[in-house]
Symmetry: C2
Subunit: 403 residues, 2 copies
């Protein structure tokens, strides 16, 4: 692959604006409110339940593009269409976000974890910024407070672990809280921002990163636990966490890390590269979904499958790592993951990307959206890669000029 | 395949007594109490957590063989080794059975469903019968009462469904309660036995069976719900439920069904055969793990995998159905499932059976035991098929004599 950054920027831009966004604009809008996310290969709706993560993530997607790309009224309308439905139906009496609703907005699954609240805070923060509506800002801040309040017991009364026998904490909470907090920079008091970013970056880089691999679960003090959960490596999660950290190091860099931000970025790149060495399928290509650090059988029967989000998050991490450090290994891996992803996930016939492939890279579930795949990872990655390649191209051009 | 029933009986007998039981006798006994179930291909322990379902199922297995095959003292010792450990560590202060313990018996996962209690009742009932110990009988009866008490809200406080929006009930509860109640025939009052068997058989055959397919979840009145859960077919579960029903029809037959028990058995056979038509993988062979009744993508990423328990339960259902009805389709399917199972699951090199194959029949998890696979489905199926073939052989011989 030639390093023609402008050509790559165009590839991602075209896929985002001419393929992926139109797919969701055309097929996902429920005239009764909110979005359909269960779309088959061609875009037909096969189930009408509304999963709060995905509803919020679609609001975020269209709002974010209004804020960072250009304020298109059709994008803002789509975001508002979801935001109004969710503000009305998404929360219980205490303001906690449900996990899912039926088509009409009746609650189906209780607020059993805090990720619904995380994505609500992300969504309503971007929507408030795009629309200038005060009520949306309130919804965002309330959801953010839920996350802070529940972060040490994210499953609340639905936590099945017997207290005290084997305490564990998960990577998901600090990684998403870090990303969410940076997302809400414009809305949060400086003090909260500094404090949460410092704590979450430190927790991810110290407790969960060990010998350049991210562990999915560790003891509260960051030590390892020899159990199914404690041995689990979730490569996509680890790699996504690393680009969240690089993003913070570059865009914000709280006082405590600012002086060392290139060190921090290099540590993240080491994490990404080593995770890829560990989790790349040498036989069929692609990144495994789950692995056991000791090579034991995982609990997860889907461990060897190739998932869209794992690969598109990796594309972001590699191109961002390459732009920030110029390290050749980033580019070498980028080419490998690029070829795999564009050849296996992108659907040339009906548009958008497949979500779930088996180990051999064959389509496992013939869908474009479902309970966990919506209008989020693919378009976010396309947008971010496009922007990264534009920056790389500008840097290239200015370098060429100076020759 | 020739219908040499004696040869088939010998195949199953030899596999049970010379391969599978010795594997567990050799590798699974934890000298500190209870059993290891996380065994790799060769039998080495890779994790020491103790999952209550599997602990109880191993107690059941060795006790049942003492009761139904022969009272070997080494089998009773193994059962007692587990029973003592579990009676001491398995329950919370209210007598509900935990989901898992660590190696030493400290609780790890709370009693979040009633299946731990189901398998405890099964285990301690058979162990009480084998050992004649009164305390074990008390443990069994208490666990059985837990199941009856919690059957309408099996997940208790851990139920995440919002009440009222979409009420559903699952096949697992009545099917396991039916089998468990027949298991405990010797311990339960006649009235309870009659009443529970009648109600559960009726519920399975009326609410969950529709057009010869078993639905995994239905509305409380047995109607269908067009959602991921409502569209779900779990072929292995459905087929297992059908042999539980045939077993009741033959061995017990409560007053209300006794007059029609051949009808009931034929209905069950229709269910088994039709499920196989629906769920057999025409390309690679084997029975799918999960399917959507409308052919939509399932939530379960492991839907196309081939699992040991699905296949060994099907062997039991087919040979039992053949013996009870003589229907040729049972034999034709038996041959197909026999060939697939013995060629793919049985491990000729290290003994015992693999648990998890991918769609193509290749080993997916290189283990003999884990969180869900223990000393249960394989040896139970080997024992039951052996007994069925002995009966078929006796019937054959007496027929030959009468010619």
């Amino acid at each position: 692959m030639e390093r023609d950054f402008q050509q790559l920027a165009d590839l991602y831009k075209t896929a985002l604006l001419n393929d992926v966004l139109p797919f969701w604009q055309k097929h996902s809008i429920d005239p009764q409110g909110g979005y359909f996310t269960c779309l088959d290969r061609t875009g037909s709706v096969y189930d009408t339940d509304k999963f709060i993560w995905l509803q919020n993530r679609q609001i975020w997607m269209f709002s974010m593009l209004c804020n960072r790309l250009e304020p298109r009224s059709e994008w803002l309308d789509i975001a508002e269409h979801g935001a109004k439905f969710l503000a009305k139906h998404g929360r219980d009496a205490e303001g906690n976000w449900y996990f899912s609703l039926d088509r009409s907005g009746q609650p189906l699954i209780q607020p059993y974890n805090i990720f619904s609240d995380c994505f609500a805070a992300m969504a309503f923060s971007q929507f408030a910024l795009a629309s200038g509506q005060d009520w949306a800002r309130e919804v965002a801040l309330q959801a953010y407070q839920n996350v802070l309040r529940r972060q040490n017991n994210p499953k609340g009364i639905y936590n099945k672990a017997y207290p005290g026998t084997r305490s564990m904490k998960g990577l998901s909470v600090p990684m998403i809280l870090a990303n969410l907090t940076l997302e809400m920079e414009w809305l949060l008091p400086q003090e909260t921002l500094e404090q949460v970013l410092k704590a979450t970056v430190q927790e991810v880089m110290t407790d969960f990163l060990d010998q350049n691999l991210l562990y999915e679960n560790v003891a509260p003090d960051g030590s390892h636990i020899d159990s199914f959960e404690g041995r689990l490596i979730n490569p996509g999660h680890g790699i996504e966490a690393m680009w969240f950290m690089m993003d913070i190091a570059e865009r914000y860099a709280p006082r405590s890390v600012r002086s060392n931000n290139l060190d921090l970025i290099n540590q993240c790149v080491d994490g990404v590269l080593n995770t890829l060495e560990f989790a790349w399928d040498q036989t069929y290509g692609g990144i495994y979904y789950f692995l056991d650090i000791k090579g034991y059988p995982t609990q997860q029967l889907e461990w060897d499958q190739k998932l869209w989000w794992v690969h598109v998050e990796t594309l972001v991490a590699l191109v961002m790592g390459y732009r920030l450090t110029g390290r050749a290994e980033c580019w070498n891996w980028y080419e490998k993951v690029h070829d795999y992803s564009w050849n296996h996930f992108a659907d040339r016939e009906y548009g958008e990307w497949f979500g779930y492939l088996n180990r051999r890279g064959e389509v496992l579930l013939n869908l474009k959206g479902g309970k966990w795949k919506g209008c989020f990872h693919v378009p976010r990655s396309l947008y971010l890669c496009w922007q990264e390649f534009e920056k790389l191209d500008r840097a290239d051009s200015s370098q060429n000029k100076s020759l």
